[in-house]
Each structure stands twice: as C-alpha cells, then as structure tokens.
Amino acid sequence: MEYFLNEQQKTVKSLARMVAEQRILPVRAELDEKEEFPWDLIGEMANSDLMRIFIPEKYEGLGGGCLDLCLVVEELSRVCGGIAISYGANALGALALINYGTEEQKGKYLPDIAAGRRLTAFALTESTAGSDAANIRTVATREKGGYLINGTKQFITNGGEAEIYTIIAMTDPAKGSRGASALIVEKNTPGFSFGKKEKKMGIRSSATRELIFRDCRVPEENIIGREGLGFIIAIRTLDRSRPGVGAQAVGIAQGALEAAVDYARQRIQFGHPISSIQAVQHMLADMATELEAARALVYAVAKTIDAGAKSFTEEAAMAKVFATDMAMKVTTDAVQILGGAGYMRDYPVEKMMRDAKITQIYEGANQVIRNTIALELLKRKGRQE
C-alpha cells in the first residue's frame, strides 16, 4: 500500500532495508544461536546514520520523528527482531533525554548517541514492578549534591552494553508514584554493576541484564525533569515508544509472510505447489490483510505523534496491542505453512515466532495495554456525562 512517505522517509526505509539485507541477514541465525550482542552491526548502523535519525538536528541528529524511527525498526525487524530491539531500546533510552532533558544533558549525551559512540537503555521494570510500574523499590535518596541509589532493575534491554541509563527510582517513597524520579546513570559509576545476561526464548542477539545499584552516587544534575516527575516521564516515554514496538511486530510479520509465500510456491504436495491449495491461500490472504491493517495503524499513530498531538496514549496503545497480537498470529501461521520445515531452526520462521512473542509482553503486557485503552475510552464517556 502507498503511504505517501516523504523523500527522507523513503530514503530511510530503503537504507534500513539495505543494512538489514546486506549486513544482518547473513549473520542473524548465528547471532541467535550464540546469543551474541551485535556490536559490529551496531557500528554498521551508526556508520549509515541510523542512530542519528531520532536525534534532533541541534545535537548532530537528523531530526526524524516517530515515523522515521518506526520505518527503521520495521525494516530491521523484517530480517531480525533481536537486532531491531537493540536499536529500538537505544532510541527508548534517548527519548526521555530528548523530551525532558536539560540543554546541558542533551548537549552532553545526544551527540554521542547520534554518532553511535554510546548506546542507551531505559530501566523501569523490577522484580516487584512490571505491569504494576508504580511499585518500584529502587530508591534514590537525596544527599548533598546528588542522589544515593539502591535497588535492582530487572530485564533491562541493552543492559551491560549501553553506557547511558535512564532509570526510574523513588526519591520520595511515601508519595507513591508521585515520588518517582528519572535519573541518568552512566556505566562505570561506582556502585553500579550488572547481573548475569538472561537466556531468552527469542530476540536472543539482544542483551538483557539486571542493573544493580549498591550505594551508587550520581550528581544532582543527573535528574531528568525534576523530582517527582519520574512516573509521568516513564509513561509518556512509553507512549512515544509503543508505536515502535508495533513497527517491530509489523516487520517481524512481514518477514514471516514473505517466507511463507516463498515456501508455499516451492513446496510441492499432491503434484502441485501448496500455494495452489485454497486452504493455504486463505491463510496467506488473512496474514497479509491483518499485517497491512497493523502497518496502517502504526504509521497513522506515528504520524499523529509527529504532527504534534497532545495526547496519544490510547492510539499508541492500540498500535502496540493490535500489531503485536497480529505478529504472533502471522508468525504462528507462517510456521504452520512451512510445516515440519518451519519448526526446524534451519528455516527462519521459528525464530520469527519466538521473536514475535516478546512484543506482546514488553513495553506493557497486552492485557495491561488493553486496560489503558479501556480506561481512556471510559474516561471520555464519563466526561461527556
């Protein structure tokens, strides 16, 4: 479908596809198998300016919006969801800085992020605070000139590999979610260490680790926004990043659909390619239709955000939940069409199915996201009465 992308967006999309096909495709199976963080590919993406896309021009970026970012994530995900999330999590870590950081913070960190010299990560989740994000236990105690951080963050994408961390910690635990603050912590800060690398079902080339803070001191200029804004910053940042997860799902599903179509045309059963069987055709038709609907929704929400909409919590949630449920279904059907071959790791679709699963879980489990959508819907009705 024609989405009337502008000249830069078309160029971004084709460049991301070139990087994905020429550099990621040859190594994706190996990186998945070995669970290796793709530092070489991070370098390639940086050289191609892909890290600059979401950074404002003032800080050596290219000033692209949510849609530009979605296009890159989609194209990378079409080939490998794991590498795409390493890229996407880097953008997520930078988003809070871009939208809520001071001039000094932006000037200090964004040019490095744009050049790909340093990666970022965003840390909200804890063992007691997943969907219940307000139940954060990590504390940042005010002391002279800064904060003393104690606690553990869990399942942090790019953990250990990133050098700049945006973390959410309680500066005033008595106030509940209004006592949370967002802070920047740099790797190698004394008292800041990493737990073991998690072994995952999918997106295995991405790195996921615990962040451990034991009397970790950061200067007061590392606070993003001001004290007490942490929860709002986290929620708003996730609103901006959720279309990106939708784009990841669209990309993974696109890769799976293409693999299923190719296979259906080649696989001969009963003397004919299985693509001539109507049962298979209908599966492919449903996969393509749902995929295109998800893409249209993701792009529309991204354009809404780029146009400067004030509130887009509901729309971003819809793009995330619809696209990721679609990706789970499409990748499962792709495995079904490839049959026994699809279940084997020699073919790419079982990886796509494993990669798709996480998109329903992270950046808000789809059930919690549905709560968000329903809440917005009911609030609106309530206001009308």
Partner: protein, 261 residues
Amino acid sequence: MNVVVCIKQVPGKIKIEIDPQTNTLIRGGSDNTINPFDMYALEEGIRLKERYQGKVIVISMGPPQVEGTLREAVALGADEAILLSDPVFEGSDTWATSYVLSKGLMKLGQFDIVLCGRQSIDGETGQVGPQLAELMGLPFVSYVSKVEEMRDGQMKMQRMVEEGHQLIEMTLPGVISVVKEINVPRLPSLRGLMQSKKARITVWAAQELGVDVSKVGLSGSPTQIVKVFYPQRIRQVELLQGSVESQVNQLIEKLRETKVL
C-alpha cells in the same frame, strides 16, 4: 591529494540484452548499478582520502542515465562526479573508452592516483585500466590487494599474484586496478544519500574534451564484435531398455563403441 576513481554503470540484473545491430549491450534499463569491482576501487579511494586528506573524484563514460550511478558514488563519499557523455561515444570499445577517459583526466588536470576495478562484470575485459595508463603515459599496477602507504610521491602496495603477493612501489601519479580482497565496501549513510540527491554532476561532451570523434563510437573503435552467440548444447539421449543386467551390458557396449572404455 586528488584521488580519481573510474566507475562503470552495469546492468543490475542478470538478464542482459544484446543489440542485434551492434552486438553490444543495450544500456538503458533503469535497474543499473555501479560495477561491483569498481565499488572496491571507490572504497579504497575514500579510505585514501580519509587517511591522507584531499578529495575523491569519480569519473565515468556513458549515456545520461549514468548520472544516477555517479550519485550512488557521491552517497558513499565521493566529493565530485564527472560524466563523459556524448551520443558519438555510443558503441565505443575498450580502447575508445580508455581514450575518452584519458581526455577526461587530462581536462581534469591535477590528480595523484587513478583507481579502477580489476574488470567490469558485463564486458569482463579488464582492459580499460591498463589502456588508460598507457594513453596517459602513466605507470600502472594491476590486481592491487593492499595499499601500504603513499609518501613522497610514491605509492607502496601489494599486488596479488597466483601464489602470494608482490610488493611494488610506483611513482605518482599512476593508475592501479584493485581486486575484491582489498577491502569491504561501506554502505551509504543517510546524510550521504540526502546530499547525493542535490549533488551537481559535471557533464563533459566530446567537444569540451577535445576528443577526435573519428576515434570513438562504434565506427571509431579498432575492435568490432562480429557475432555474439550462446554455445550450442548438443546432447543425445538414448534410453536403455530391458532388465538391469542387460541395461548394464548395453551401457558397457556403448561405452566401448564410443571409445570411452
């Protein structure tokens, strides 16, 4: 330091059509790309620029649509692009092409090194590099697999030979052709791609180059392609009948008849 890289536009797809009149490739399709071997020359040129400062100038002879290929080179890091284009050049063989390129380089004037790919993937002659050097009266080294250094008007490099490498020093300016072992070409950057859309491509025609038109084009080329043909496949199939034992006996008999055994 001025680095010149000669590039050629080649068909991007395997499907190739030959003009039945001239027996030369039909160049005009939209799916064209930089000759893959020239990508290594371009990459090496850009690396030399990054190492020693200066600029990279890409030059190509061909029809107007080669402009697109030159823009690809600009996206990768070339600073200037020159297209030698004139209807009279059409059908030029490698010698006539080398002649036109040499005229382009003479008009350009100042340069330190000219890089070419070892050969094109369509014509596959590998002649343009050495012919160009000959016409310009410059030294030439082929199959360069590593540039060690450029210093004091000299270039030290490795040349790939069948079993090993030669270490060669050449006085600059000179011409080299490179092999794919020399580097891994980079991908374009987004900024490069955006810049390349706006880049100015210089176009020089026969008159501006001072080209003797009797020496170019199909009629001016010393070689002519007389015939292009696909090798005929002659296969005869004979199916042997009978039991396995009798088939084996028949087969042995046939092999003896044809003196294979």
